[in-house]
């Protein structure tokens, strides 16, 4: 079974994917990768090797729904949309992320 050496990082990727899909409509993997690069100004390199396992996992968790469709250029691609369960998960992850960053920030201020 695959081991996730860094749960926090995986959670971050989940969070980013959910956030992107919640803002926009259905997106395919390439577009999601592009968006991540753009919004993070390329400062967060998300490898494609991590993206697809995450998409698979989240689809199986029923946070995402996957449907085949055609891109603007007429290529067959899998489009992901966020489900209600996925939105709940997003809220949860956002809340946890904020808590964590606040805690770290506090620690940095007063330590």
């Amino acid at each position: 079974m695959p081991k996730h050496t860094n749960d926090r990082l995986q959670g971050t990727l989940d969070l980013l994917i959910l956030k992107i899909l919640a803002r926009s409509g259905a997106q395919h993997g390439y577009a999601i990768a592009q968006r991540i690069h753009n919004v993070t100004d390329d400062s967060l390199r998300i490898e494609e090797g991590s993206l697809y396992p995450a998409l698979q996992r989240m689809t199986h968790e029923k946070w995402l729904r996957a449907e085949w469709g055609l891109t603007d250029t007429g290529r067959k691609a899998r489009f992901y949309t966020i489900t209600p369960a996925g939105r709940r998960q997003l809220e949860e992850e956002e809340r946890r992320w904020l808590e964590l960053t606040e805690a770290v920030a506090r620690a940095l201020r007063f330590a």
């Binding site: 079974m1 695959p2 395919h28 396992p53």
Partner: protein, 876 residues
């Protein structure tokens, strides 16, 4: 994600795989589009896209890993691969499966027996609540005590059972059956109902009513009435009384008494049980069902309280009855903690497992050797696999699964062997022991678990070392296939063969010790004449003979037989020495009543018994027909007793008595006879006491001394006794046969050990041959070089044989050293030989060394036939 979902996804894998491939292809294509928009050529765009994206196959694997139980998939893939590779070498598979199958087969067979005899609970409802009870004073209980106990708190019910021999007459022929006499609630207590008809009803509970009803065991009913449809309502003539069959038990009924299966069941009545009003001692086994929720300790306390009341009420008869009882389960090892269990039992139970386990280990070592050699020849393959990124764990998994497939095949073969061999065990007839009823092997969960466990352990034992070794390949040398690198692997194989030889030496040593004991026992003088004796075991119909009638009948038999030609003298006894029966009591002397009595072996014998048996009377006289009921009580003792009891004095004329449940009178010693063996040929002389049969009684064995060869008189003796009373069952044997139980048992043990030893040495020989042949092949260039430099063929041959001798010699030394210690627990079964017997040690060493020479013959021949020029060129 739940593991179940992940496992389910395995099935959907190929669709998921296709989808992912498509998805990743699209991703690469989209990058390519992007690159092209920036003005690159199609060719450059594609190349850039590939580099930017990375290895799509690896991503796909990772994506699948996230949602599929890949461990299962890998295991499955390894297994399929193992089956494919093994199919390519059927010969190698055959050897391994044969070796391992034999090893596993004997183990599952012995476990099957063990399981049937000990681990399987009796048939019935809720067997966990069934217990056997041994009261404080004995391992059995008397009928009046059972009746008066009632139902102590914590028990739902209590029931009695006891073995009984019954004579079944059909037409003119008689046969002896082993039945169980039970209280009427016995079947109800077990929770067993009849397959046909019914079991016993409450009205059959009172022995006074003498109910003549019988319930048959399924197997017996089949054997006895093969063609009959319904046997319920039939009449059986048992012990001269007509019994009605009221029911037949179902085929799968197991009484839970080891391998003993009664032919039939009768209610406890005076007809079959004799007197039931004697409170002392006891002759019945007590079984009970605990109440729901009652613990064994609570039940034991309640039982003890009830038993103490009975001890107070009958202090003479029930001495010790109120001591804490033993409450034991019906099955499992815990059921053996009773007082009646012989102290040798643990050894007897464990020994087969040790012996067969050793054999399995030898087989495992063999298979490990084969796999090690196979691993060596697969080094290039393994190196390539490591080179393209397989992890070592992956490879070990792959090699182990090969071994696992082999083990499964071998286990299947072993179980097949078990199924074939087990019914044959029913043909083992031990003298004076009812035939074994070995139940057929069933799809039994215990047996199956055991077999799977053995398969797992063997595949690990056989496979792990070779797999670890095979994958210890350095990439460069592995690909170059350098033969010189085989040193550590060679050492490993040497250790394997050495331990095989050691284990074989242990088996052979044990076998030889038993053989030596057997030969020794054959030369031991039993102290009586076995060459001119005929022994007739006469089973009387108990309800028709009172004790005086039995005495008269015995004397009648003597008169009738004495009139036959070729007969020198005739007598009778309650048991004959070495016949499988024994009675042990304590004897008290009139002069030294304060001392604890001497332990003596007892038999009741008729007039002229010592003359008939050929036992010398040293002092005094032998019994006469006037030593009967009403005459002064007398006794005869043997020399060992006389020496122990009266070290300086004369024993004839002194008084002694036996301490038994039945009050025995003071008896005057009227004779001293020479010692003879009593229970075992290997025993030291035991103090023995003989009582006059005509003042006591017991089972009736008629002993005849013939003038010529005894077997010639067998038919005449049998007919003469049968003519006197047609309801008797007579079994006639020569005395040599009747006293051969010990010899027979020893012979069985020796044959079994011999077979295992031979099998072990055969396996070791195959292993040794394998290692030598492999070694010679591996060393071909070296040997070629030696020969080119002038070594003679003879020197080369000697070199190979010497290697074999060193290997086997080391194994033998270790094995024999272990044997001397390991056979110590068996000392009780050995006779006339010590565990460090030099003859046996020498024989084993000699045998194994000649095996070494034999196994090295072919490899040595091949080595000396190596052509130096070819060998040196072959290396390149």
């Amino acid at each position: 994600m739940s593991p179940l979902r992940r496992l389910w996804n395995v099935v959907r894998r190929s669709r998921m795989d296709d989808d992912l491939r498509q998805e990743l292809d699209t991703h690469v294509a989209l990058i390519e589009d992007e690159e092209r928009r920036q003005g690159l050529t199609a060719e450059q765009a594609r190349r850039n896209a590939r580099t930017r994206f990375g290895n799509p196959d690896a991503y796909r694997e990772r994506a699948l890993d996230a949602v599929i139980a890949t461990w299962f998939e890998h295991a499955w893939r390894d297994l399929r691969y193992a089956v494919r590779t093994l199919r390519k070498s059927p010969g190698h598979v055959a050897v391994v499966v044969l070796c391992l199958g034999l090893g596993i087969g004997v183990n599952t067979t012995i476990f099957g027996l063990f399981n049937a005899a000990l681990l399987t609970p009796p048939t019935g409802r809720d067997p966990d609540r069934l217990v056997q009870i041994e009261p404080g004073n004995s391992d059995q209980i008397s009928y009046p005590n059972y009746k008066d106990l009632g139902r102590p708190a914590g028990f739902e019910d209590l029931a009695l059972s006891g073995r009984v021999t019954l004579n079944l007459r059909s037409g003119d022929s008689l046969q002896s059956l082993t039945g169980l006499q039970v209280s009427a609630n016995y079947f109800e207590l077990l929770g067993v109902s009849a397959w046909r008809g019914r079991t016993f009803s409450a009205t059959e509970e009172s022995p006074e009513q003498r109910p003549r009803v019988v319930v048959l065991d399924f197997g017996f009913s089949r054997r006895q009435f093969p063609d009959a449809g319904d046997v319920v309502g039939r009449i059986l003539n048992l012990n001269g009384d007509a019994f009605t069959v009221v029911g037949v038990l179902s085929e799968d009924h197991r009484p839970g008494m080891g391998l003993f299966v009664p032919d039939l069941y009768v209610p406890i009545t005076p007809i079959v049980s004799g007197r039931l009003d004697d409170r002392r001692g006891g002759s019945f086994d007590l079984r009970a069902r605990l109440s729901l929720g009652a613990s064994r300790d609570q039940a034991a306390a309640a039982f003890q309280a009830a038993a103490q009341r009975l001890e107070v009420a009958y202090p003479v008869e029930n001495g010790g009855f109120g001591r804490p009882p033993l409450i034991l389960p019906m099955s499992g090892l815990g059921s053996l903690q009773g007082r009646g269990t012989p102290s040798e039992l643990p050894i007897v139970l464990a020994a087969p497992f040790v012996v067969f386990g050793l054999l399995l280990l030898i087989a495992c070592a063999n298979v490990a050797g084969v796999l090690l050699a196979r691993g060596a020849s697969r080094r290039p393959e393994i190196a390539i696999r490591l080179g393209i990124g397989a992890s070592r764990a992956n490879l070990i998994g792959m090699l182990l699964s090969e071994c696992f497939v082999l083990s499964i095949l071998a286990t299947a073969g072993g179980l097949l062997l078990t199924i074939m061999v087990t019914p044959l065990l029913n043909y083992i007839h031990l003298p004076n022991v009812a035939a074994l009823h070995v139940p057929p092997v069933e799809a039994n969960i215990n047996l199956l678990l055991y077999a799977v466990g053995v398969a797992m352990v063997t595949s690990l034992v056989c496979g792990l070392i070779p797999a670890v070794q095979a994958t210890r390949v350095s990439l460069t040398s592995g690909l170059r296939e350098a033969a010189v690198k085989g040193v550590s692997r060679r050492r490993l194989r040497n250790v394997l063969v050495g331990s095989q030889v050691a284990a074989s030496a242990l088996l052979l040593m044990t076998c030889l010790l038993f053989l030596r004991s057997l030969l020794y026992v054959a030369t031991v003088d039993p102290g009586f004449d076995v060459h001119h004796g005929v022994t007739a075991r006469v089973t009387l119909e108990q309800n028709r003979f009172t004790q005086p009638q039995q005495h008269l009948f015995a004397e009648q038999v003597v008169r009738r037989l004495e009139s036959l030609p070729g007969i020198a003298s005739v007598s009778f006894a309650s048991l004959i020495p070495l016949g499988g029966d024994s009675v042990g009591l304590r004897a008290q002397l009139r002069e030294r009543q304060d001392e604890r009595g001497i332990r003596v072996s007892v038999s009741n014998v008729g007039p002229r018994y010592f003359e008939t048996m050929g036992i010398v009377v040293r002092n005094g006289r032998e019994f006469r027909s006037s030593d009967r009921e009403g005459a002064p009580p007398v006794v005869i003792v043997n020399e060992t007793f006389a020496k122990q009891a009266f070290p300086q004095g004369v024993s004839v004329g002194r008084d002694m008595k036996l301490q038994s449940e039945h009050e025995d009178p003071w008896r005057e010693i009227v004779g001293v006879v020479a010692d003879n063996k009593y229970t075992s040929l290997s025993e030291a002389p035991q103090p023995q006491v003989f009582l006059p049969f005509l003042q006591t009684g017991g089972r009736l064995l008629v002993q005849v001394r013939t003038i010529g060869a005894p077997h010639l008189s067998l038919p005449a003796v049998k007919n003469a006794i049968a003519e006197l009373d047609k309801t008797l069952l007579v079994e006639v044997q020569t005395t040599a046969e009747a006293t051969s139980i010990e010899f027979t048992l020893r012979r069985y043990a020796t044959i079994l050990l011999g077979a295992m030893g031979a099998l072990g040495i055969l396996l070791a020989m195959i292993g040794l041959f394998g290692v030598l042949a492999w070694d010679v092949t591996r060393r071909t260039p070296e040997i070629g070089l030696r020969m080119a430099l002038g070594a003679s063929r003879r020197a080369v041959r000697t070199g190979v044989v010497r290697d074999a001798l060193v290997l086997v010699g080391a194994g033998t030394v270790v094995g024999l050293a272990a044997a001397v210690g390991a056979t110590l627990p068996l000392r009780g079964f050995l006779a006339g030989v010590s565990t460090a017997d030099p003859v046996a040690l020498g024989a084993v060493a000699g045998l194994l060394l000649s095996v070494a020479v034999l196994a090295s013959a072919l490899p040595a021949h091949r080595a000396s036939g190596i052509d130096p020029s070819v060998a040196l060129r072959g290396e390149g």
